[in-house]
């Protein structure tokens, strides 16, 4: 005969209410773990889908995610020549603030080379980009249907494909165009500036005594092409051949000055340590506080339940009930409360995690760990009650 269950049966509604409340608390704890995991997944989504070994960025920067980095696109040819490098391609990243049907929206635009690294990972609907211009692949979260047009920097781009759950490290949905289109979009606003600087350049060349008038005229567009090039990328990513030495390739590129080759690991470190560490600490602290609150609630409830039972416990002692039965009564109630609350919290979060605005990743190991912590909290919480119960004298059962 299980005393714990029978006592609970007698105080059903109070017990269930407490479990519900605790369940909500634990649900929040679980969601926070999931939110952190989601932040991590989101932060590294582009990094991981690119699956490059090296990220070459502008010297002295931690780009392209955490800082601005600008490097000439052409450096990719030089990188391809580095021993061990199998594939290298340039990528362009930019945040776009746009407007659609009167509502502003933000997304993160990736420009990639067709057939190169860093393009859309799995296409969940439609097709990948097939031509060099005016096609765009957007994430489902942007809610733009296939075949629809999106106006960017004066041009209309046709949505040809959808990705799923691709977000930038800031959590904005990602869209993909070709590198050439991305560069066009990125430097479009500068067209006037380019014309101005071209005129200035022609002026300066004409004033050089060593150049004839016609030489200066011929040189102007070529110099302008070099100086005002829009063939700028934010990073060049490289994938090594199997078995190639990463450190060696990195070392080689490092020697060129002007560029900084970061490994995928470095990038992950930059993204997670630098950018979401605070969020992690914040969430971790919050979870710890909520767990402490849960512990306090459980121990308070178990303690009051024990206080209500002091006479019962005295009677049990009087009729010779073993201590382990009495300890079991309190401990089982505490554990049961924790486990029911855990189950309620888990059900709740399983049902709702898809509806969160940002990704909530429920990871089995996190949930198992939390379960272990809840069990420990329950055991701890019951100790106060057990101590009280052990001090009860059987004589207390005799008083009128």
């Amino acid at each position: 005969m299980n005393l714990a269950l029978r006592d609970i049966r007698h105080h059903q509604s109070r017990f269930i209410q407490t479990c519900l409340g605790l369940g909500l608390l634990l649900g929040v704890v679980m969601s926070m773990g999931g939110i952190y995991r989601g932040l991590f997944t989101d932060a590294t989504a582009i990094l991981n889908s690119t699956a490059a070994d090296l990220w070459v960025v502008q010297q002295d920067t931690t780009g392209p995610f955490a800082a601005t980095s600008r490097i000439p696109e052409d450096i990719k040819f030089r990188i391809r020549a580095v021993p061990g490098v199998e594939q290298a391609s340039a990528l362009s990243f930019q945040n776009i603030q746009s407007e659609r049907n009167g509502t502003p929206f933000r997304f993160f635009l990736v420009g990639y080379e067709l057939g190169g690294l860093g393009g859309p990972p799995a296409i969940v609907a439609g097709r990948p980009i097939g031509q060099k211009h005016y096609e765009i692949v957007v994430d489902r979260a942007m809610k733009i249907a296939l075949g629809e047009q999106l106006r960017l920097a004066g041009d209309d781009y046709t949505v040809v494909g959808h990705t799923a759950k691709m977000v930038s490290s800031a959590g904005d949905p990602v869209a993909y165009v070709t590198l050439a289109d991305a560069q066009k979009i990125q430097f479009k606003d500068d067209n006037n500036a380019i014309r101005n600087s071209r005129e200035k350049l022609a002026d300066q060349l004409a004033r050089l005594p060593i150049l004839s008038r016609s030489q200066a005229d011929q040189l102007t567009p070529q110099v302008a092409e070099i100086v005002g090039s829009t063939h700028i990328a934010n990073t060049v990513v490289a994938r090594l051949a199997p078995g190639a030495d990463l450190a060696l390739a990195q070392e080689r590129i490092n020697r060129w000055n002007h560029f900084r080759p970061l490994t995928a690991k470095d990038q992950e470190h930059i993204l997670t340590e630098g950018m979401i560490k605070k969020a992690k600490m914040q969430l971790g602290l919050f979870r710890a506080i909520l767990l402490v609150i849960s512990g306090v609630i459980i121990s308070l409830i178990i303690y009051t339940m024990t206080l209500d039972k002091l006479r019962v416990i005295a009677t049990l002692k009087l009729i010779g009930t073993r201590n382990r039965v009495i300890v079991g009564l309190i401990l089982q109630q505490s554990l049961l409360m924790g486990m029911i609350a855990y189950a309620i919290g888990l059900t709740l979060i399983e049902l709702t995690h898809d509806k969160f605005p940002r990704r909530v990743d429920l990871v089995a190991i996190d949930l198992q760990l939390l379960f272990g912590i809840v069990v420990l909290i329950c055991i701890g919480a019951s100790l106060v009650g057990i101590r009280k119960a052990m001090r009860v004298e059987p004589a207390e059962a005799l008083g009128g």
Binding site: M1, L3, R6, D7, R9, H10, H11, R311, V312, T315, L316, K317, L318, I319, G320, T321, R322, N323, V325, E393, P394, A395, A397, L398, G400
Partner: protein
């Protein structure tokens, strides 16, 4: 062998000015199946006698032997497992019935049997039999809050007798009942004690309840001042 032997049993509460001699030098033996009534005014030490025999109150001096086992010799022997003795050899019935509120009548009886290692099924069957013999067959699934005073006390008797203890200690078991119910409960108690060959020590205020008892002690100021044999 005696069911209970006490010798020079003394309980003193407090010390100095606040010293109270609750029980002074009580000496007597009870044979198995013997019905003993204990009378006396309030504060005369009746409850103290039962609780010192019942391993609830540690005596200051004197000896208690229960069913051949020395359970007090100027205090409790250090190695004595009080709970074991209580669950194996003793049955308690008190004025307030002390039933466990979250257990039904039958479960209240079962717990005593399970305490002694009996399996749930057997304990249930046995408890039902006992409750039926006490006329509670139809009430056995009720919670104590819904039982009448007499029904509660009969359930408490069933619990005390379930393990067929050698000694039953009953402290004013009929005090909370009206006369008719009181008589009925007392009669059942006596009948079951005789059937089980249990010695029974009943404390009561009520002279009318003691008919049919083998021996009647009267207490005053912690001492036995009168002993009658029927």
């Amino acid at each position: 062998m005696y069911a209970v032997q006490i010798e020079g049993l003394t309980k003193i509460y407090g010390s100095g000015d606040t010293k109270v001699v609750a029980l002074a030098d009580a000496t007597f033996d009870v044979t198995p199946g013997e019905l003993v009534a204990i009378l006396g005014p309030s504060g005369s030490g009746k409850t103290t006698l039962l609780t010192t025999i019942g391993l609830v109150t540690e005596p200051t001096r004197g000896k208690v032997v229960l069913d051949g086992e020395l359970i007090a010799d100027n205090g409790w022997p250090p190695s004595l497992d009080l709970k074991r003795v209580r669950r194996e050899k003793l049955g308690f019935i008190f004025q307030s019935h002390n039933l466990i509120p979250f257990l039904t009548a039958v479960e209240n009886v079962m717990i005593a049997l399970e305490n002694n290692g009996m399996g749930t099924k057997e304990a249930r069957a046995r408890s039902i039999t006992i409750l039926e013999s006490l006329g509670l067959g139809h009430r056995m699934d009720q919670y104590p809050a819904l039982l009448s005073g007499g029904e509660s006390q009969r359930t408490a008797i069933a619990r005390a007798l379930a393990n067929r203890p050698k000694v039953i200690l009953a402290d004013e078991p009929t005090a909370a009942l009206d006369t008719e119910n009181g008589r009925h409960v007392m009669a059942l108690l006596k009948k079951l004690a005789v059937e089980n060959n249990s010695a029974i020590l009943v404390v009561t205020h009520d002279q009318r309840m003691v008919e049919g008892f083998d021996r009647i002690f009267t207490f005053s100021d912690g001492r036995i001042v009168d002993e009658k044999r029927n």
